[in-house]
């Protein structure tokens, strides 16, 4: 069957990735990140970054407005909750479709330009969405207050099927409400599906076309390809990934705020992708995890935590160490993030995945006989090395 | 490297260590030397171990088919960023060019007149010439240039890029003369010019020859180049295929047929 037809190597990648994702609640415990809220974020932003990488990593088009699709997905999902049902599946479906349509329109217009002009066009569209969501579209978006569930929501399907429950309902799937870790596993399942589709795209002729567009778009035209629909398809697919991520944000926490669409949010996914490694399969996921980890864990450190952490030091050293390190955590976590970016970009232009590859190469050099030969057909496909 | 016929001088090492430090070199000794130069455009291996040398005041024609690496060799000598020099030495009058950046090479006396002339947009004819005299090492004064190139004098206030092709070529050569130069590199000086203009440029180049400026000329029109040149080097896919006098090439139909297709 074509659908599950993947090279063995990609299956291994997928298997390992699935194992890592499924066991996240375990191996993240010592890192203090094993609680549902953050785990869900890990899964959701990994989807977002994987989708973004399909556009940026494969075609080379740098979109600076991808958060708009995330926001559209969230709003659509919350509206599905409010109007129809608390079931997550229709919400996700609608979100993916609507954000796909948005991506189609914005992509169609933006892809008329290339390079930084494309980036600025996407940025401008996203900023327009953001500003309108904040002001004029308040009836749809509830402005700065964010779109939330209310007790007065019609929820026509739910009301027709069962008596209205007291209080605010939670998102569910076939009547089953997630608690924290179930919510994570639901997101993780979707992450695996999303990852699988990305794997398929990366190893398909379609993926090769996208890479060829990145490599030499003019040549693609003279080779007989109409590159516009290819780029547009990639744009729409990645917009749908963003919509899925947005929907999942709403499923795990039924609220949609305009700031999800702000350019800083779009910038964040760019950073995630580049930090992890553009054009690699795993890189964006790692980038997403790293940034979300920093944002949630580092920002929560304060001087008490640091004092406890450095308590093994002699007291006269502890204080200066705590003072200095406190500049890098808590409120100062952005400083750490900025420094990491600068260091990664200066020393590891290919992102973290390049670092992994370099280490891998070192390791291989020490054990030459087992060095695996490069895959003959596709040296540029670098999944999960 | 099948058809390499090196002359005796170029085989022997052109510089001893002592000579390389010496600033003034006797006329007979090689004034300029390229030793085993390898250069890359990105990942493409373009110049694959080229060596030759020139005596002071000599004109060398660098010939070869399209894509043989002639322009790349000139650019490598002028120390431009592309192609990047991976190996080899370039010596001009005792100065190690291979250790320099392009602006340092230019100060050391190398002047490249590029294939596409590279008149700078937005600058007048006069500004294009003044630009050459900003860095230390002035050559001809503007008056002398204008005396030699009256057409440029007429158009000194005009924007350089609006000149005709031949005038641009003159400006490009004049710009090189405005610097204190020891080695002139001419890349396709006749390319794309009408025959009348070609004659005019030829006249200028002949004049330059009489001034005794050491020159390397790359030209598609091999015959024209060989008429001007004292000696010739033929490149084939980035390697030296022949070194000899210009007359050797003209007298050897097989050589011409094989490497120059004339």
């Amino acid at each position: 069957m074509d659908l599950f037809n993947l090279p063995r190597r990609d299956w291994i990648t997928f298997g390992l990735f699935a194992l890592v994702v499924v066991t996240m609640p375990i191996w993240l415990t010592p890192l203090g990140a094993s609680y549902p809220g953050l785990l869900q974020k890990f899964a959701i932003f990994a989807i977002f970054a994987i989708g973004f990488n399909i556009l940026f990593g494969l075609t080379g088009y740098l979109s600076f407005g991808h958060a708009a699709f995330l926001g559209v997905g969230s709003y659509t999902a919350v509206w599905s909750f409010k109007l129809l049902t608390m079931d997550a599946l229709p919400a996700i479906m609608f979100a993916v479709i609507v954000s796909g349509l948005f991506a189609l329109v914005i992509g169609y217009l933006s892809l008329r330009r290339t390079g930084i002009y494309f980036s600025i066009l996407t940025l401008a569209f996203a900023q327009m969405c953001y500003n309108l969501a904040y002001s004029v579209l308040t009836p749809i978006t509830n402005g700065e207050t964010s779109l939330q569930l209310t007790l007065q929501d019609p929820r026509v399907i739910d009301s027709a099927l069962a008596a209205r429950p007291e209080g605010l309902p939670s998102a569910s799937i076939f009547g089953h409400v997630f608690d924290g870790f179930e919510g994570f596993y639901f997101c993780a399942a979707l992450l695996l599906i999303a990852f699988f589709i990305a794997l398929k795209i990366f190893s398909s002729p379609f993926g090769m076309m996208l890479r060829a567009i990145k490599s030499n778009q003019t040549r693609m035209n003279y080779t007989g390809f109409d590159t516009k629909p290819y780029a547009l398809t990639a744009f729409v697919i990645s917009g749908m990934y963003a919509g899925l991520a947005g929907a999942l944000l709403a499923v795990t926490d039924p609220l949609a705020g305009a700031e999800r669409m702000q350019w800083t949010a779009s910038g964040e996914v760019v950073l995630m992708t580049i930090l992890g490694g553009v054009g690699t399969l795993i890189g964006p996921v790692i980038g997403a995890w790293l940034i979300k980890y920093f944002e949630n864990i580092f920002s929560a450190f304060n001087e008490q935590v640091l004092t406890r952490f450095f308590s093994f030091l002699p007291p006269e050293i502890t204080e200066p160490v705590v003072t200095i390190s406190s500049k890098f955590v808590g409120e100062g976590w952005h400083l750490t993030l900025g420094l990491i970016f600068v260091l990664v970009v200066v020393f590891l232009p290919g992102g973290i995945m390049e670092g992994v590859r370099r280490i891998g190469a070192l390791f291989r050099r020490t054990t030459p006989p087992s060095a695996p030969a490069a895959r003959p057909a596709a040296p540029t496909i670098q999944p999960a090395e | 490297m099948s058809a390499v016929t090196m002359d005796a001088k170029s085989v022997s090492a052109p510089f001893s260590a002592a000579a390389s430090i010496e600033r003034t070199v006797p006329l007979e000794a090689p004034f300029f030397a390229v030793k085993d130069v390898h250069a890359y455009y990105g990942e493409s291996y373009i110049v694959q171990g080229v060596s030759f040398d020139i005596r002071h005041g000599e004109i060398l024609a660098l010939l070869g088919r399209n894509g043989a690496g002639k322009t790349s060799t000139l650019r490598a000598i002028a120390r431009l960023d592309n192609p990047s020099l991976h190996k080899g030495e370039i010596w001009l009058d005792g100065q190690p060019l291979h250790k320099m950046k392009s602006f340092e090479a230019a100060r050391a006396g190398v002047q490249l007149v590029p294939e596409d002339r590279r008149i700078i947009q937005g600058l007048t004819v006069e500004e294009n010439l003044t630009l050459a005299q900003v860095a230390p090492g002035r050559g001809w004064e503007l008056d002398r240039i204008y005396a030699h190139f009256p057409r440029l004098a007429e158009r000194r206030r005009q924007e350089g890029v609006t000149l005709s092709g031949g005038e641009q070529q003159m400006l490009s050569i004049a710009r090189a003369l405005a610097r204190d130069l020891k080695l002139l590199l001419l890349d396709e000086p006749y390319e794309g010019l009408a025959p009348v203009i070609v004659q005019e440029i030829e006249k200028i180049l002949t004049e330059i020859k009489t001034l005794g400026i050491t020159t390397i000329i790359v030209e598609q029109n091999a015959v024209a180049a060989l008429q001007l040149a004292d000696r010739a080097v033929i490149l084939d896919t980035g390697e030296v295929a022949f070194t000899g006098t210009a007359q050797d090439v003209l007298d050897n139909p097989d050589l011409r047929q094989e490497y120059l297709a004339i």
Partner: protein, 213 residues
């Protein structure tokens, strides 16, 4: 001239007609889909892809048309196209290097690969812009042999070439252009004799004679 045919430049007047259809005004990919394929003077390739992928891509254009979302089949299960590509790579002598990065090839190899990229499309009209520039003598001869072989398969070709040796060993009909005009046209031996051609194109052969005397 080739740029006009393949749609890179638009002619101010006149039209390009191929097989009864007007090419002018068509987009480059449409022209390619009609079977007009070009080898560029400076190699136009996909430097980030492997040699094999470079050659496979045009085969997809031939098979699937200008646009098709082909996600569900893996690249490695496209056996037919891979074999065809391998075959052509053997023809041009790049089979051993099929998994190399195309960007790392030498200029001559890039040109041969580009030739392979065009041949895999079985074009009805093949435009060659100095196909042997940058190749060594030996490679040039190999390429001529290859082109002769293709000629035997009955493919129309237009060659732009400075190297008259190549031209005369391949062409059935020659047009000589100078300054944007056709100055001579016809069978090779007649063109060879034309004085205008000698003057404008062959590097002033009469001057050569003067100089050698």
């Amino acid at each position: 001239m080739l740029n006009v045919i393949i749609g890179r430049l638009a002619p101010s007047r006149g039209a390009v007609v191929f097989d009864g259809k007007v090419l002018t005004g068509k987009k480059p990919h449409q022209i390619n889909q009609m079977g007009v394929v070009r080898v560029f003077q400076t190699p136009e390739i996909f430097p980030e892809l492997s040699v094999l992928q470079n050659v496979m891509a045009p085969a997809f254009a031939k098979r699937d048309g200008a646009f098709r979302i082909n996600i569900w089949r893996s690249l490695e299960s496209e056996r037919g196209i891979e074999e065809e590509a391998n075959h052509i790579l053997q023809d041009v002598g790049l089979y051993e290097r099929r998994s190399h990065h195309a960007g790392a090839l030498s200029r001559g190899d890039k040109r041969r690969m580009e030739l392979a990229m065009c041949l895999i499309q079985h074009p009805r009209l093949l435009l060659l812009d100095e196909p042997t520039a940058g190749m060594s003598r030996h490679d040039t001869n190999t390429t001529i042999e290859l082109l002769k072989k293709i000629k035997a398969r009955g493919m129309t070709k237009v060659i732009i070439e400075h190297d008259m040796h190549v031209v005369f060993s391949l062409a059935d009909k020659i047009s000589v252009l100078a300054g944007g005009r056709i100055i001579a046209e016809g069978l090779p031996r007649r063109v060879r004799r034309s004085e205008k051609v000698q003057e404008a194109y062959l590097g002033g052969a009469h001057r050569l004679e003067e100089a050698t005397h």
